[in-house]
């Protein structure tokens, strides 16, 4: 093996070229890791909204809470089966999407309002009031998720949200549910919301806490085959996973496709640099061969140099991309047509993939030049 210091010093000597090439790779890695962080952000927001031991019940044929409706009479029947946790219980909720003006005057958007019963907050242990107080059941009081608090007119403590003429919701608090999509919702009293909408007889969906996640399949079969109603039962985590695919799948795929296409350019850049390096060092390579290093040793040495060069880029790109975790972007959740706020999310997985990606770029870009280097014959090189 040729010592790695040889490669490291060679890269250092050619500072400008090394930086330009690594910089190109860093930019590609930035795009790649950015797309992964976006996807991780959407997954975090939507995946943490669900829990595996909770079943969500929708009317058969509906894909989302927004288009579903379930008569009040059925709610009691969902609670009956043995799989239902007696302590956890059930919530039946109504969903409505309201038009809201952006506080900065940039136009209108849609915000999801959830009418939830008195046990709605307790049903989700991850929910905490961050400012103000919890709403009193049976009143027109509401709380807003902290991702949208202040983003929209009326959606901050003391503000009002109109559901119907002369029956506004009054915001009394802000809450968080650990970065989930609930953070982009408004929560109010179930009956107050239903009365405002004139839909007293139905809810949009029901959520049932099961004794354990393993009980889901049995519960699903029981409810879906019940002839008294036509319902669809999904594991809450699956329900949100599907939404996250619908919402972010296209953009993530585009981001990754862009990164992979630009990586072709970056690989060519690496190949140009390595070719140049090898052309300059033909005499050195000849010396190495004359000293007894094998063709394989020369090949692996130059591959290693290309890898090192690409990893410098990968590390720079990975460090730069961390800054994205300060960025939040609004996005339409296609399942609800309402706006959710996504924060770019860095996970170890993102960085591992980014470094592997940069390494692959280096190896592929450096392969042809390294083969060329390994073919140098000592005699010709030292003569030349």
């Amino acid at each position: 093996m040729v010592p790695i210091q040889y490669n490291a010093r060679s890269l250092l000597v050619r500072k400008v070229t090394t930086l330009a090439t690594a910089g190109g790779i860093a930019l590609v890695v930035f795009v790649f890791a950015g797309a992964l962080m976006f996807n991780a952000g959407v997954t975090r927001a939507l995946a943490t909204s669900g829990s595996p031991d909770t079943a969500i019940i929708l009317r058969k044929g509906s894909d989302a809470e927004l288009s579903s409706a379930i008569g009040n009479d059925y709610l009691g029947l969902f609670r009956g089966p043995a799989q239902v946790s007696q302590a956890g219980g059930m919530v039946g909720e109504i969903i409505v999407v309201v038009t809201a003006d952006h506080a900065d005057g940039s136009g209108v958007s849609n915000v999801l309002v959830r009418g939830t019963p008195a046990n709605g907050i307790a049903f989700r242990p991850e929910v905490h009031i961050t400012r103000g107080r919890a709403p009193r059941p049976g009143t027109n009081e509401a709380i807003v998720g902290q991702s949208i608090a202040g983003r929209f007119a009326g959606m901050s403590i003391g503000g009002t949200i109109n559901l119907k003429r002369n029956s506004p919701l009054t915001v009394v608090g802000e809450f968080t549910a650990g970065g989930s999509t609930y953070d982009s919702e408004v929560w109010a009293d179930l009956d107050y919301v239903r009365n405002s909408l004139g839909r007293q007889a139905a809810v949009s969906s029901a959520r049932v806490r099961l004794s354990s996640a393993a009980d889901f399949e049995g519960y699903r079969q029981l409810i879906e085959t019940d002839k008294r109603f036509a319902m669809k039962v999904m594991r809450e985590t699956d329900y949100y996973e599907k939404q996250s695919q619908q919402t972010a799948g296209l953009f993530t795929a585009m981001g990754l496709a862009l990164a992979i296409m630009t990586s072709i350019a970056a690989m060519i850049g690496a190949a140009i640099t390595m070719n140049g390096a090898i052309a300059h060092r033909t005499r050195e390579i000849g010396t190495l061969r004359a000293l007894g290093f094998s063709r394989g040793a020369v090949l692996s040495s130059f591959l290693l140099e290309a890898l090192l060069l690409a990893l410098i880029g990968g590390v720079i790109g990975s460090i730069a991309v961390v800054s994205l975790s300060l960025v939040s972007v609004p996005l339409i959740n296609f399942a609800t047509f309402s706006e959710i706020v996504i924060r770019f999310h860095a996970t170890p997985d993102v960085f591992i993939k980014a470094l592997i990606f940069s390494g692959v770029m280096g190896l592929l870009g450096g392969l042809a030049p390294a083969i060329r280097a390994s073919r140098v014959t000592p005699v010709e090189a030292m003569r030349g």
Partner: protein
């Protein structure tokens, strides 16, 4: 020997490197054009949306509906020439051949008068008016579902339970490129008379009106909303363009992220070009010394280097836009329009995009060559000659 000849000859001294750099520039230009075309395709809906058509919906929520009598009141508002309405049907293909398409229940008598960018043959329209269970489909949707006029078709809905049987009365084509050719239209009266639609009986999803003068759209919108302000169900009226923009607003951040990626691609291209130029200049420092010694001025040296950089950029840029023209505009673009018209009703790189990318390549060729050129121009003849690398 002039500048271009010198630049050209120099390029072939390291043929492999020049070709690779040209290919890298080509790849960057290609990706840039693709990305700009995707962004343009998304904006196309809003760009093409008319300003002489107003959309009136429930003020509180897009999911809330308006009483049927509102359409008659809307038609009385001064400046409104014609009006129609639609309800969201939540249509789905039970065999799941199409992941998503829009399904509207619309007024059989007035829809195509107002939505005149959807064209349906008169005999098919007459057949639709005579068939309550008739449906009209976009040409792309009809092809995907494998139906033609006269066929029976089963559609399900995520709002109204059960199977819905339709007869295909007609197939509409698009007058403009930005029109969705994947829409399914059923008759509103057919839906309204069905017991499954009891919750939305005699209610309208939203109303669309054509106004006589687009320049008064803001005034007329205000008048419409004022007219319904005294009722329980208040309205929100805006032009179709504002409506499309408010929808795009939900993706504004994503679109700006892709704008940022465009800049990243340009930066990568510049770095690769600059690296190539820097490498060539370093190899030829001695020659530049000779050229200076026999009387060429620093301006010439700078010209040689810049000329070389720009030439590579131009060749790569031209190759890139040629590939875009052949592959996108003649190949995958039309295929995308046929198969993904919901997402990309129109997918061709415009002349603006192609020329923009070429100009960017030229400008960045200058940028990439500038630093090495200036540094080479400043070299003292003696220093340059002393360097033997």
């Amino acid at each position: 020997m002039n500048l271009a000849t010198y630049a050209r000859r120099n390029l072939f001294r390291r043929r492999g490197r020049t070709i690779m750099t040209v290919v890298a520039v080509m790849v960057c230009v290609l990706i840039l054009c693709l990305l700009r075309t995707v962004i343009a395709a998304w904006n196309a809906g809003a760009d093409a949306a008319s300003t002489d058509r107003l959309s009136t919906r429930h003020k509180v929520s897009i999911t809330m509906q308006l009483p049927q009598r509102y359409i008659d009141e809307l038609r009385q508002v001064p400046g409104v020439k014609a009006a129609t309405w639609a309800n969201w049907f939540g249509a789905k293909d039970p065999k799941e051949r199409v992941p998503f398409f829009a399904g509207f229940a619309v007024d059989v008598n007035s829809w195509f008068d107002v939505q005149d960018e959807m064209v349906v043959p008169p005999d098919q329209l007459a057949a639709w008016k005579a068939t309550p269970s008739g449906a009209i489909l976009g040409d792309v949707l009809a092809r995907t579902l494998g139906v033609k006029v006269g066929d029976r078709l089963v559609i399900t809905s995520d709002i109204y339970p059960g199977d819905w049987q339709f007869t295909v009365s007609g197939i509409y084509t698009a007058k403009r490129k930005s029109v969705d050719r994947n829409t399914f239209l059923l008759r509103w009266d057919f839906l309204n008379n069905d017991p499954r639609a009891v919750y939305s009986k005699d209610h309208l999803g939203w109303m669309v009106s054509r106004i006589s003068d687009a320049s008064h759209s803001a005034d007329i919108s205000r008048q419409i909303d004022a007219r319904f302000d005294i009722h329980d169900d208040q309205t929100l009226t805006m032009t179709e363009r504002q409506f499309a923009l408010s929808f795009l607003g939900g993706f504004a951040a994503i679109l700006s992220a892709f704008d940022l990626v465009s800049l990243v691609i340009l930066a990568i291209m510049t770095l690769i070009l600059a690296n190539t130029v820097a490498m060539s200049v370093r190899e030829r420092t001695h020659e530049y010394g000779v050229l200076r010694a026999i009387g060429f001025t620093p301006a010439y040296i700078r010209g040689f280097i810049l000329g070389e950089s720009v030439l590579v950029a131009v060749v790569g840029g031209l190759a890139g836009i040629a590939v875009v023209y052949l592959v996108v505009n003649q190949g995958i673009g039309p295929a995308l329009e046929e198969n993904m018209s919901g997402l990309f009703p129109y997918f061709r790189a415009s002349a603006q995009v192609l020329i923009g990318a070429l100009v960017a390549a030229v400008v960045l060729g200058v940028v990439a060559g500038a630093v090495p050129a200036i540094r080479a121009g400043r070299l003292k003849v003696t220093d340059a000659l002393r360097r033997i690398d």
